[in-house]
């Protein structure tokens, strides 16, 4: 008999009778009661009940087949709805006006999948054997002889290699292993350029005019009424055809502005008021939490709310965070009016826009 034979027989589950081998010891109140006695189902003893269950299972599978045929048929027969919703649209109560094709495909595919599942479950519950068996686990630990042998082999190997005795070999090997990951770090470092100062600056600079995103025209102070909300961008962008200008998305992602006007007496922060023009304040549209565009502006409270995580900024108080997870006030762009009477930036934002990052103070 080889050791392989020995192992496989040793790890076989212990044979246990169908009703559980353990017999309860009466003086132990917590004894394992074993499995309850097996009760036959009707289908186990009544051949007609079994035949009926078989037909029921078959009916589920046949329903699934019919639904699959229906799926293919509706895919071929039903025209997809057109864009303006004049054809191929049906009204289903609770769902509303929906595409007939989508509805037919979803319903038939759902029925055909459910039919297979329901048939399989019904089959298992009525006809497959429901007798429970116990298979005891063998102990995870190896036998004491095997363990002793493994320890002895390990010690012998360690002694023969001289790992403990020849310290020069050991130390140089540890050094070589520690050095090896440096090559990966060099490769990772070279995957792309460092961000440098990109995160600190935007497209705004001294003298750049504020362009209305709706009309693509420069804005004048008289255009912006108290309580209004306007979105502005730096000049030279074409929002009507963003694909024509590959830098459009990159610029707008950092330089989008939110322009509001309030009564100068409502502005609580003196520096913020002086950075605006006659109550017109220009704030970054990028939330300082994780950079969502924010413009849910409430003109009576002067609060602007971020839809992502409910950070709320008070634009009448220098963009201060009054609620939510944002860590920095909303950056304000200092604006003035140029010789043409148009609103223009005095300089770039004095702090990075958008979420915090590693080097941001």
């Amino acid at each position: 008999m080889t050791s392989q034979d020995n192992m496989s027989e040793e790890h076989l589950p212990e044979a246990v009778g169908p009703h559980g081998g353990a017999v309860a010891v009466h003086d132990d109140p917590f004894a394992d009661p074993g499995l309850p006695p097996h009760e036959p189902r009707r289908t186990d003893i009544d051949e007609r009940a079994a035949a009926r269950a078989e037909r029921q299972v078959a009916r589920w599978f046949i329903l699934s087949m019919i639904a699959t045929v229906g799926f293919i048929a509706s895919y071929v027969a039903i025209k997809p709805s057109n864009g303006d919703g004049t054809t191929g649209v049906i009204y289903i109560f609770t769902l509303g006006h929906i595409s007939a094709l989508n509805f037919a495909l979803g319903t038939t595919l759902g029925i055909s999948l459910f039919g297979i599942g329901a048939g399989a479950v019904h089959w298992a519950r009525t006809l497959m054997s429901d007798e429970e068996h116990i298979a005891e686990r063998h102990p995870i630990e190896s036998t004491p002889e095997v363990r002793a042998q493994v320890f002895a082999d390990f010690r012998q190997g360690a002694a023969e290699s001289g790992f403990g005795r020849r310290k020069l070999i050991r130390n140089t090997m540890i050094g070589a292993m520690a050095m090896l990951p440096l090559s990966a770090i060099v490769l990772f470092r070279d995957l792309g350029p460092l961000p440098e100062k990109k995160l600190d600056t935007t497209d705004w600079s001294a003298g750049k005019q504020l362009i209305n995103m709706n009309t693509n025209e420069p804005l004048q102070p008289s255009d912006i009424t108290v309580g209004s909300l306007t979105f502005a961008m730096p000049p030279g962008l074409n929002p009507d055809d963003p694909n024509a200008d590959p830098t459009f998305q990159e610029v707008i992602a950092t330089s989008a502005l939110l322009l509001v006007r309030m009564e100068p007496s409502d502005i609580k922060d003196a520096k913020s008021a002086s950075w605006g023009y006659d109550g017109i304040l220009a704030f970054s549209k990028i939330c300082t939490h994780v950079g969502c565009p924010i413009s849910l502006y409430e003109q009576q409270t002067h609060h602007v709310l971020c839809p992502c995580h409910q950070s709320t900024f008070d634009l009448s108080d220098g963009g201060r965070v009054i609620f939510g997870p944002a860590g920095h006030p909303l950056p304000q762009l200092q604006i003035t009016v140029n010789a043409d009477g148009n609103l223009a930036a005095v300089r770039d934002f004095t702090q990075p826009v958008g979420p915090g990052f590693w080097e941001r103070s």
Partner: protein
């Protein structure tokens, strides 16, 4: 009379007297009170006069006797007729109670009365007047979609179904709002909604936005191709539906799969 005085200590006597007193006061008031349903008048000065009367009865308790505003309501000097037509025409005004936001409800003034109120408020100070039908005629749907996503979708949601703002305020759904009221809302900025004046959003763009809203929120023009929209409110309702109904159904099926099969013999 003797019978009546004999029953004065009856348990229901107090109730009868109370009902009689209420009916008498109410009846007398109805008979003698001045009728408030003013007739529409073509004369401008007369409609201002009528509007002033309506204002003093219905609005002055919060907005002040001459619309100067009190601590309960803002000044109406310079808000213009468009703001009046929006606030009263959508039932937001007169407000039922103070709160973070005044909701729209049943309109209680007739359009003629609203016009009179607007005429009166317009005399208090210059402001946007009620737009004419060709001002809010529907424009280009596709261009309106672009403008809607830039200017409106942040609060009113990509499908115009509205959304929550801070401290109990909310952006209402745009479904079923008339083109005139949408135009007036953009022009005047009611309550906490910012205004979008013609200087920053020209009239043509407002018409495009109106066309987009009327197209998008009309289910017969813009059907839900994917089926149940759950209000187009985004991940919150979708997640809630998934967790409660879909997961509930899966748990039910799992219980059915693991349930004990009926035995031939009752145990």
């Amino acid at each position: 009379m003797k019978k009546l005085s004999a029953r004065r200590r009856h348990p229901l006597a107090a109730l009868v007297v109370l009902l009689f007193a209420l009916a008498t006061t109410g009846g007398l008031y109805a008979a003698f009170a001045p009728t408030s349903s003013a007739q529409a008048d073509t004369s401008q000065s007369l409609s201002v006069e009528q509007g002033k009367k309506l204002f003093q009865v219905g609005c002055s308790s919060c907005h002040g006797l001459s619309g100067e505003g009190t601590k309960d309501g803002p000044t109406l000097v310079g808000v213009g007729g468009a703001a009046v037509d929006f606030q009263v025409g959508t039932g937001r005004m007169p407000a039922q109670q103070p709160g973070p936001q005044i909701p729209s409800k049943k309109v209680i003034y007739s359009q003629a009365q609203i016009d009179q109120l607007a005429a009166y408020i317009s005399t208090l100070g210059a402001g946007p007047s009620i737009p004419t039908a060709n001002q809010y005629a529907a424009g280009n749907v596709a261009a309106g979609g672009e403008l809607f996503r830039t200017n409106c979708a942040q609060c009113h949601n990509f499908a115009g179904s509205g959304g929550a703002l801070s401290e109990g305020k909310y952006a209402p759904t745009l479904e079923g709002v008339s083109s005139k009221h949408i135009y007036e809302a953009m022009l005047t900025g009611p309550q906490n909604m910012p205004a979008f004046p013609d200087t920053t959003m020209p009239q043509q763009q407002k018409q495009d936005i109106i066309a987009f809203i009327q197209h998008t929120t009309n289910p017969s023009k813009n059907p839900n191709y994917g089926g149940l929209t759950l209000g187009s409110l985004g991940p919150v309702t979708e997640g809630l539906f998934g967790w409660i109904f879909a997961l509930g159904a899966l748990i039910g099926i799992a219980i059915w799969i693991a349930a004990r099969t009926p035995k031939a013999k009752k145990s």
